[in-house]
Symmetry: C2
């Protein structure tokens, strides 16, 4: 009770949901730009895109076979004279008369007079340039109608659509060689702390390697953004102010370390002196309690915890949705899936807990989650092993084996080892 009372009395402490709402209320899409289609994957359309043509442009054959008049071949077998040979991309020359047909390829336009297509498998060659139709054929079989897939002028992708491979195929279909999309945010990453050793600095056994810069870099890169790595600011007010000043020139500045309540932490006061308004500085979550969010007239600042796992988990909950919102996305959060816990998880109520888990499948195909190992916030090895973050709700005293919980899929979770097609017995 003592601890809970302290938590509630803290003015800058938000729930995760309130913190996300606070961030997203201050986050709107940046400007737009026009880029080549070849660079557009993962970006978000800023304008509606309309079809520039009917597709198919005419009635076309859906199969390789023979275009014919259905009245001629209602009874099988029947024999037709071949008067034309129409490939995809050709224009038909002949008008079919009774008793005639045209050899036709998938995608080729139907000749005038034809109202059906006979599949090549349902025919066999006959003497004197004729073909024998072996099965009775109905009207309008295996024809794709003009404009059945796309009609000129209709909106095929609306503003706000994410450019997935499928959407990119649509854009190519309507000849959008360049597309108007939201700009991606410019992101800077700064680590702080005297104890940190830079990646390419000489080895010092008493230092702690700066992993946060690179884990955060990778999380940003996974959003399609190449961040600027500012380096390591030492615990010196002037040096820190210089780094922060530079970082505030970006749309989003990520600072890890130096945001807790200790006397040596200069980040919060220095940010305030630089004109940043901090909206919260603790969140009721574990790992990741000391996380701060602020806004300047130039952009957003996130102060992430110094512990590697806490920093990454806070990125997932707060920075990732912000980056996606700035980039114009509508889907801001990691996809979750339900999974059955295969062992109990203890939790202290009051903070939502993110548990690193690996996923497997039970015999029925449902997901089973189990701890990826140590849940210490310093243990980045289990973060590397995890397929996802299992969410223990804030009010929960823990989950029992067999409980169904939600798991946020981390990036490695998008692929699996078995195809699970069930296409063979």
């Amino acid at each position: 009770m003592h601890e809970k009372a302290a938590v509630l009395s803290s003015p800058g402490e938000f729930s995760v949901r309130k913190a996300q709402a606070c961030i997203l209320a201050r986050t709107s899409p940046l400007g737009v730009e026009n880029i080549a289609l070849e660079r557009a994957l993962g970006r978000v359309l800023a304008v509606d895109v309309r079809a520039n043509r009917d597709l198919p442009p005419r009635d076309i054959s859906a199969m390789d076979g023979y275009a014919a008049r259905a009245a001629d071949i209602a009874d099988a077998p029947s024999t037709l004279e071949i008067v034309d040979d129409i490939k995809a991309g050709d224009l038909p020359r002949a008008v079919l008369q009774s008793g005639q047909c045209a050899r036709i390829m998938t995608g080729a336009p139907l000749p005038a007079g034809a109202d059906t297509v006979v599949r090549v498998e349902d025919t066999r060659p006959a003497p004197d340039g004729a073909v024998e139709v072996l099965v009775p054929v109905q009207t309008a079989t295996d024809i794709r109608r003009r404009a059945e897939n796309m009609r000129q002028g209709e909106v095929v992708l609306a503003a706000g659509a994410e450019i997935t491979p499928g959407a990119l195929g649509v854009l190519a279909t309507v000849k959008q060689a360049a597309v108007t999309v939201y700009q991606p945010p410019r992101v800077a990453i700064l680590s702080s702390g005297n104890e940190l050793e830079a990646l390419r600095a000489p080895f010092d056994p008493d230092k702690i390697p700066d992993s946060n810069t690179y884990a955060l870099m990778a999380q940003v890169q996974a959003q399609g953004v190449e961040p600027c790595l500012l380096g390591i600011a030492r615990d010196d007010p002037a040096e820190l102010a210089g780094f922060l000043e530079r970082g505030l020139g970006y749309d989003v500045l990520l600072v890890s370390g130096g945001a807790s309540i200790g006397v040596h932490d200069y980040v919060r006061p220095t940010l305030a002196a630089l004109g940043v308004t901090l909206h919260f500085w603790r969140v009721e979550m574990r790992p990741g309690h000391p996380v701060a969010f602020g806004v300047s007239d130039r952009g957003l600042v996130f102060c992430l915890p110094g512990n590697p796992v806490s920093s990454m988990v806070c990125f997932e909950q707060f920075v990732l949705p912000a980056l996606r919102a700035l980039g114009g996305h509508r889907r801001l959060f990691r996809r979750t899936l339900p999974a059955r816990l295969i062992h109990a998880i203890k939790s202290r109520p009051g903070r939502v807990e993110f548990v690193r888990v690996t996923l497997a499948r039970d015999a029925s195909g449902l997901y089973e989650a189990s701890s990826a190992g140590s849940q210490s916030s310093g243990d980045i090895l289990t973060m590397a092993r995890a397929d996802g973050l299992l969410i223990v709700p804030g009010a929960s005293k823990g989950l029992a084996a067999g409980d169904i919980a939600r798991v946020q899929l981390l990036e490695a979770g998008a692929y699996q080892e078995q195809a699970e097609l069930e296409d063979e017995p």
Copy 2:
């Protein structure tokens, strides 16, 4: 029965599973290369990586507070003299004597003589440079032990590990500024067919826009590979041979269109003349029946259907696992999740069917799948709308509303609109 008999009699026709096995049996990781950590996201480690240090390097404090001797503060309240001030990155100077403590920051090393840490929240300042401890404290509270997260020499990531953001954080932790990873495959993409209009060619109402080149490009880019776009080969044997010859210089050549059984299709015989052994040329699936796979002494060739959706679905089932296997990945297939169908789906038995679906959640958090719209293989709009491909097993005559089916998540499915944290009531 007629159709099924024809299917079974076709020598080059495989099940999806057999086709995947055929491809993967001829697919092994390419060479290795050493690249900067900044470029390593999504790649696969080709060697084991070991810890270069103990982490933490010493016993350190897990909290901001006071390092002390537990025997001094077993009863509360108690008062201690502050004799040192240890920040992260410092080395302790004093050896604690009875009645003494050192102010200590999270991550700072414990001074000799200390065996516990009192949190700053559990203290208040006392006169004359002393501190009052308000709660009784146990031995070894809030200490992180030397090497508890990582021990020098232990394997922290094994060969074959995918470099996720978490793994990249581990690599930075052990100071791997460059890493040895598998090379990504070099991929070329070719479209074929007289009917095709290039993306930047003038508009011709009778042509069909070449969308396959770009949808496939995006699917390859989503695997972290920038493909070479060879363009469009017309239905001319010499021109086609020239394009194919160039494409065969890549690790993987994707050809779309021109692979069906029609008389105007030159791709298969031309590939054979260029020394490519075709292993199958039809697969029992829908969409995507006419898909071929071949091997030359230089690489792999996939002949994908000309229909935009068929081409993309075949990529997902065959090319994606091949690209991932060539790049050293172990997880080769799209993650599937179970979803409840909200309407019936009809299916003809004999071919596994991939149905474009959108996903929503029911009140209990389970996924519900519904058709994304027209399942015509020409309708790329529904491919752009789909969150996943629902698998109707080959033996199935269809699925009923309420049935649970597997859905392969497409890329857009990795994010969702609601966070679903349940951290507030």
